[in-house]
């Protein structure tokens, strides 16, 4: 099967990208400087990510808000125009179908979904569609999506597209969005991201993708702000340190938001698919839950490794890696709730060797904007 490519594919190839297959897309995993340097660049200055593989579902109609409020765990109905919120799509039993970002724009809702789940999400939306008043469009092909992240990201954006009409991007509160023109093309820019740094996510018309992408680097260059492209490997380590979930790791259909410590993203007072199951879990407690550990010995924990306590298997690794900012080998694990407390000693079995690990406070890296 032919892999899908983003409008920037050629640019990536010409600029030192290594590609991997991710959810049927060919995406850059890293560029020439390597993923650890890309990670550090985002923490100290700015990095630009092509995340055009992510799906966009547009929802319109007079019942759109009510519809999304029933499918998504968070307070979607409280959004004003140009605001956004993180939330989850759950099954009746509370298992997570996807984690999503919802923007309320004027007259329509934009739901940003994971590439691997896009088709399944759209099918789930269609299954739950009311008799009338809601119109769904898969808008993914229309958009290129970029993230500019890092302490200098807003400086670049303000210089690039700050205007009297839109106000500076720097004046936009976190989780709000503006319309602005970049390289002659109108874009939607949300003050959000997936790295623990300040920054934006940009929804750009696909046909202008390369011009917009290059305009961002040109602006950073003119301002003498270090800024480079960042691949999926650094995207993973940048999201891991501030404790953001990655679907397929910390979230699956077999894991509930309560287990994944995402109760904050669920309004259990409202009625949504899965609410009943999650209320019960919140009241009675869950038997297994997410914990973050730091290894005391050297070794790289990875997804699927076994977690051991007192000689017996008590859980598994959901994500694990060398965390560059922490300078330590760390993992997110699902273990018996009693073992998820800070300071608990656990062991992780890596190729037959048991490595000592300690449950630590989450997140490993406190987001810079908090």
């Amino acid at each position: 099967m032919m892999l899908q490519t983003t409008p920037l594919h050629k640019w990536h190839g010409a600029n030192g990208a290594r590609f991997i297959e991710f959810a049927n897309w060919s995406m850059p995993i890293q560029y020439g400087s390597g993923s650890i340097e890309e990670h550090r660049l985002v923490r100290r200055s700015a990095g630009l990510f092509d995340v055009s593989h992510m799906g966009q579902i547009m929802v319109r109609g007079n019942a759109a808000g009510e519809f999304l409020d029933r499918l998504i765990t968070s307070d979607v109905s409280s959004l004003e125009d140009n605001q956004s919120i993180y939330g989850l799509l759950c099954r009746q039993d509370g298992g997570v179908i996807d984690d999503v970002f919802v923007y309320k724009l004027s007259g329509e809702w934009l739901v940003v979904v994971n590439a691997a789940n896009a088709a399944r999400d759209l099918a789930w939306f269609q299954t739950n569609l009311p008799a009338g008043g809601v119109e769904l469009t898969d808008a993914s092909p229309r958009f290129a999506m970029f993230a500019l992240q890092g302490p200098r990201a807003i400086d670049v954006m303000d210089s690039l597209c700050g205007s009297e009409d839109t106000g500076n991007v720097g004046g936009v509160p976190r989780f709000s969005a503006v319309r602005a023109t970049i390289a002659g093309a109108e874009c939607t820019i949300g003050r959000t991201g997936y790295t623990g740094e300040d920054g934006v996510e940009i929804f750009a018309p696909a046909e202008h993708a390369t011009a917009i992408w290059e305009a961002i680097f040109a602006e950073a260059g003119a301002l003498d702000i270090a800024c480079g492209p960042v691949g999926l490997a650094a995207r993973d380590s940048l999201r891991f340190e501030p404790g953001f979930a990655l679907y397929g790791h910390e979230l699956t259909e077999e894991i509930s938001p309560i287990q994944a410590r995402l109760k904050w993203a669920c309004n259990l007072e409202k009625d949504f698919i899965g609410a009943e199951a999650l209320r019960l879990q919140a009241e009675q407690g869950v038997t297994t839950r997410l914990a973050t550990v730091q290894l005391v010995e050297r070794g790289v924990p990875r997804q699927g490794h076994t977690v051991i306590s007192g000689g017996t298997e008590v859980g598994y690794v959901a994500s694990g890696m060398y965390a560059p900012t922490i300078d330590a080998y760390c993992a997110n694990v699902f273990v018996a709730s009693a073992l998820a407390r800070i300071g608990t000693e656990l062991e992780i079995e890596i190729r037959g060797n048991r490595k000592r690990a300690l449950v630590v406070k989450r997140p490993l890296y406190k987001p810079a904007y908090r």
Partner: protein, 129 residues
């Protein structure tokens, strides 16, 4: 890409260099470049004896864990513990500070069967397609 002509190579991308009676082993520039940033090295036990072709350790990069294989049979006499705090040296200096370990070969003729730099470069070209 550097193909150091002072060392010999094998198809699994380790290089070997004669150092007196010992053989110093590392991974090639080609290998470190394909692996990406190295974050951990699992060393063999010093004093252990392994056959040519046996796995002697693991290199963990950001992307994956990869076994490394004995270029010659023999006893492991030293491992590069400098890499414990600086695994990135494998990327920065694969033929220098990024060496992995030293072997006292049990059969000195093993070394002769390894590839020259030119042969190895030809071999890697075949892997690109």
């Amino acid at each position: 890409m550097t193909f150091d002509s002072n060392v010999k190579y094998q198809e699994s991308h380790e290089w070997s260099r004669k150092d007196g009676d010992l053989i110093v082993v590392g991974i090639s520039d080609y290998a470190q470049d394909s692996l990406g940033d190295v974050v951990y090295i699992e060393h063999p036990e010093v004093g252990s004896t392994k056959k040519k072709g046996d796995p002697f350790g693991v290199i963990e990069s950001v992307k994956a864990a990869s076994d490394v294989y004995m270029p010659v049979g023999g006893e492991i006499v030293e491992v590069n513990t400098e890499l414990d705090d600086n695994p990135g040296k494998v990327n920065e200096s694969p033929f220098g500070d990024g060496w992995l370990m030293k072997i006292r070969p049990s059969d000195p003729s093993d070394y002769g069967s390894l590839m020259s730099a030119d042969a190895y470069q030809e071999y890697t070209k075949g892997l690109e397609d």
